[in-house]
């Protein structure tokens, strides 16, 4: 039943604009704890992420947005329901295949940057390729370093970079293996507004220039305004799924959802 639903959702997910589905979830359910203490972080979510779009996921704390992202990225397993990423059902993968999928098809940007302190900026940037045992293509690497604005700081350690610079390296790291989709979890949560703008512009350019698909979880309406599409979660369900507008429009949407 669930499998049939997933296939159904996947086949009919093509958007009117011609973008195809890269991630689809069907009846996604995630329960934490059991018995009386059980909490349903997600209570049945059907969502599709379209190729080449920047999708923002918003919602109050505890609305399930981080859980949704972890499930879509294969970092967590759903209690019920399925996730299909780039045509592959994640529940059918063993640990090794799932690891390879994360390595080759998914990029991550975290709130806390999460660069390895012992490696230089450039080594951090190419780390996904290093793990996969591949060499970066020179021109691609150069263009990434250019767009990140790393310049003469490529041999610096993360501790010698500002927060904004570290996060830009982290974004470049997520892009370097040209994954099917990049998941960004509150990428501007630890940054001031100037650094936030740089990181968001970088994500925007990744979508516009490299046709990268990006899913960004955020609290910040200003950050969400960089997105093409806005998904709002409330109590583990989708409350709103629409085009992302200006910051003011998004704030209005959030207000409407809350009331």
């Amino acid at each position: 039943m669930l499998a049939a639903m997933s296939t159904h959702a996947f086949e009919h997910a093509d958007s009117p604009t011609g973008a195809t589905t890269i991630v689809a979830t069907a009846g996604l359910h995630r329960r934490y704890g059991d018995g009386a203490a059980a909490v349903d972080a997600l209570a049945g979510v059907d969502v599709t992420i379209r190729r080449g779009e920047l999708t923002a996921v918003m919602g109050a704390s505890g609305s399930g947005k981080s859980t949704l992202m972890h499930l879509m990225a294969g970092l967590d397993t759903p209690t019920a329901g399925t996730v299909t990423l780039d045509g592959v059902r994640l529940d059918q993968l063993d640990d090794r295949r799932l690891t390879e999928l994360r390595r080759d098809k998914v990029g991550f940007v975290f709130q806390a940057f999460n660069l390895l302190p012992v490696l230089t900026a450039e080594e951090n940037l190419v780390l996904p390729l290093t793990i996969a045992g591949r060499k970066p293509v020179r021109e691609w690497l150069e263009s990434l370093v250019q767009s990140v604005g790393l310049g003469d700081r490529r041999t610096h350690r993360p501790s010698e970079l500002s927060g904004g610079q570290q996060q830009r390296v982290a974004v470049a790291r997520a892009l370097v293996s040209k994954p099917a989709v990049v998941f960004a979890d509150e990428p501007t949560g630890n940054l001031d507004s100037a650094a936030s703008t740089e990181v968001l512009e970088l994500l925007r350019r990744a979508v516009d220039d490299f046709a990268q698909t990006v899913v960004m979880v955020t609290h910040d309406a200003g950050a969400a305004s960089y997105a093409d599409r806005l998904i709002v979660l409330a109590d583990g369900r989708i409350a709103q799924d629409s085009r992302a507008g200006s910051t003011e429009e998004i704030l209005d949407v959030m207000k409407a959802v809350r009331s």
Binding site: L75, T99, R102, F108, P117, V118, L127, P128, I131, R173
Partner: protein, 372 residues
């Protein structure tokens, strides 16, 4: 991944050094024990082999296997003449090994509580190489092993008093000698006198402890051993080749040092056991500190095996890095005899500050060489 592990070691230098240090401590004790005892064994082996170089066959009394009396009955001196008559014998001489005490004119003791007294042997049986003065030729002349001679600030011509089994006698110091290449006899000072004097000093007139035999050219030690053995078949004694005798003495000394080796290994084992916990804890903490880092690597697509391998690589680098230089450092030090700077007064003949008297090693040496 390898890069991450190795870079981690380099960047977190203090942690690496401290972890390595705990490994070093565990390994050093074990390695040091083996190096020390093996070095001692080897040194003794060299000394006995050198000293026995001219001796092809040794005749000694049979070990009495008796719980009440493990001493050996000395050989009659007449046996020496019988050995000389055996075909193939170039030279044979009786030897005396016993303890005496020596005092200088002020009445102070020379060379510790006990000194070996050894009878001078004719060429080629003589294990001594005189470094000053000459060999004693008269009943009132005595020579000392070189180390004791130098340490006690003695001069050729000094007067000394020797206290043996038959009371005190006055002697004139005529020289100092090395035993083989060593300036002590298996770590102990020795007094060298003529055979007759040695017999008189130790109360063994007409008796000897051992008989050293040299073969004529063309006669192998083994041949000579069976000939001497056949000639003395009815006597309660043992005939062995010089090489066997040296090996036997080395083994006896080694046995005497066995307790030291065991004691040190027990401590080393404890050190390693405790060290294992220290190392285990250190790595647990290390990995715990890196949980975030390892989780990140997993998220970025590193397989379980890759992560495990990077942690193991770190452990191997620390383990090898700490224990290999340690072991080779030890053996290099022992080769250059630097080890004596760190060992306490060990009894190795090559040690510049030997322990004076270990009763066990000493009595073992005596029982192998024979004494009354």
């Amino acid at each position: 991944m390898r890069q991450v592990a190795l870079r981690g070691l380099r960047v977190r230098r203090l942690r690496t050094v401290l972890t390595a240090f705990s490994v070093v401590l565990g390994v050093a004790m074990i390695a040091g024990t083996y190096v020390l005892t093996d070095t001692v064994d080897k040194a003794f082996s060299e000394v006995f082999t050198q000293a026995n170089a001219g001796t092809d066959v040794v005749v000694a009394p049979k070990q009495v296997d008796d719980a009440f009396d493990s001493s050996q009955r000395p050989l009659k001196e007449a046996l020496v003449r019988r050995v000389r008559q055996v075909d193939g014998v170039a030279a044979a001489a009786g030897g005396i090994q016993d303890d005496v005490s020596i005092r200088n004119v002020e009445g102070d003791r020379i060379g510790g509580a006990m000194i070996f007294v050894l009878a001078l042997q004719p060429e080629p049986l003589d294990p001594f190489r005189f470094v000053s003065g000459r060999a004693p030729g008269f009943p009132d002349e005595i020579a000392l092993s070189a180390k004791a001679f130098a340490e006690e600030d003695l001069q050729v011509g000094d007067k000394v008093t020797v206290v043996g089994a038959e009371g005190a006698r006055h002697f004139k110091l005529v020289g100092s000698a090395n035993f083989g290449d060593a300036d002590t006899v298996a770590g102990y000072p020795a007094a060298i006198v003529t055979l007759a004097t040695a017999q008189a000093l130790t109360g063994q007139r007409g008796e000897v402890d051992t008989i050293a035999v040299a073969a004529r050219d063309g006669v192998t030690p083994a041949q000579l051993r069976s000939r001497v053995g056949a000639a003395l078949a009815l006597e309660p004694l043992e005939v062995r080749t010089g090489a066997r005798d040296a090996a036997q003495q080395t083994a006896d000394v080694g046995e005497a040092f066995g307790f030291l080796r065991t004691a040190l290994l027990v401590f080393g084992g404890i050190a390693l056991f405790v060290g294992a916990f220290v190392i285990y804890n250190t790595f647990t903490i290390t990995v715990a500190q890196r949980t975030r880092e390892l989780a990140l690597l997993r998220t970025l697509g590193a397989s379980r095996r890759q992560v495990l391998r990077s942690v193991i690589l770190e452990a191997v680098v620390i383990g090898l890095g700490a224990s290999v230089p340690r072991c080779s450092g030890c053996s290099a030090a022992s080769r250059s005899r630097l080890r004596c700077a760190v060992c306490w007064r060990c009894s190795a003949p090559t040690c510049p500050r030997p322990r004076r008297s270990s009763r066990r090693a000493r009595s073992s040496w005596r029982s192998s060489s024979g004494s009354s």
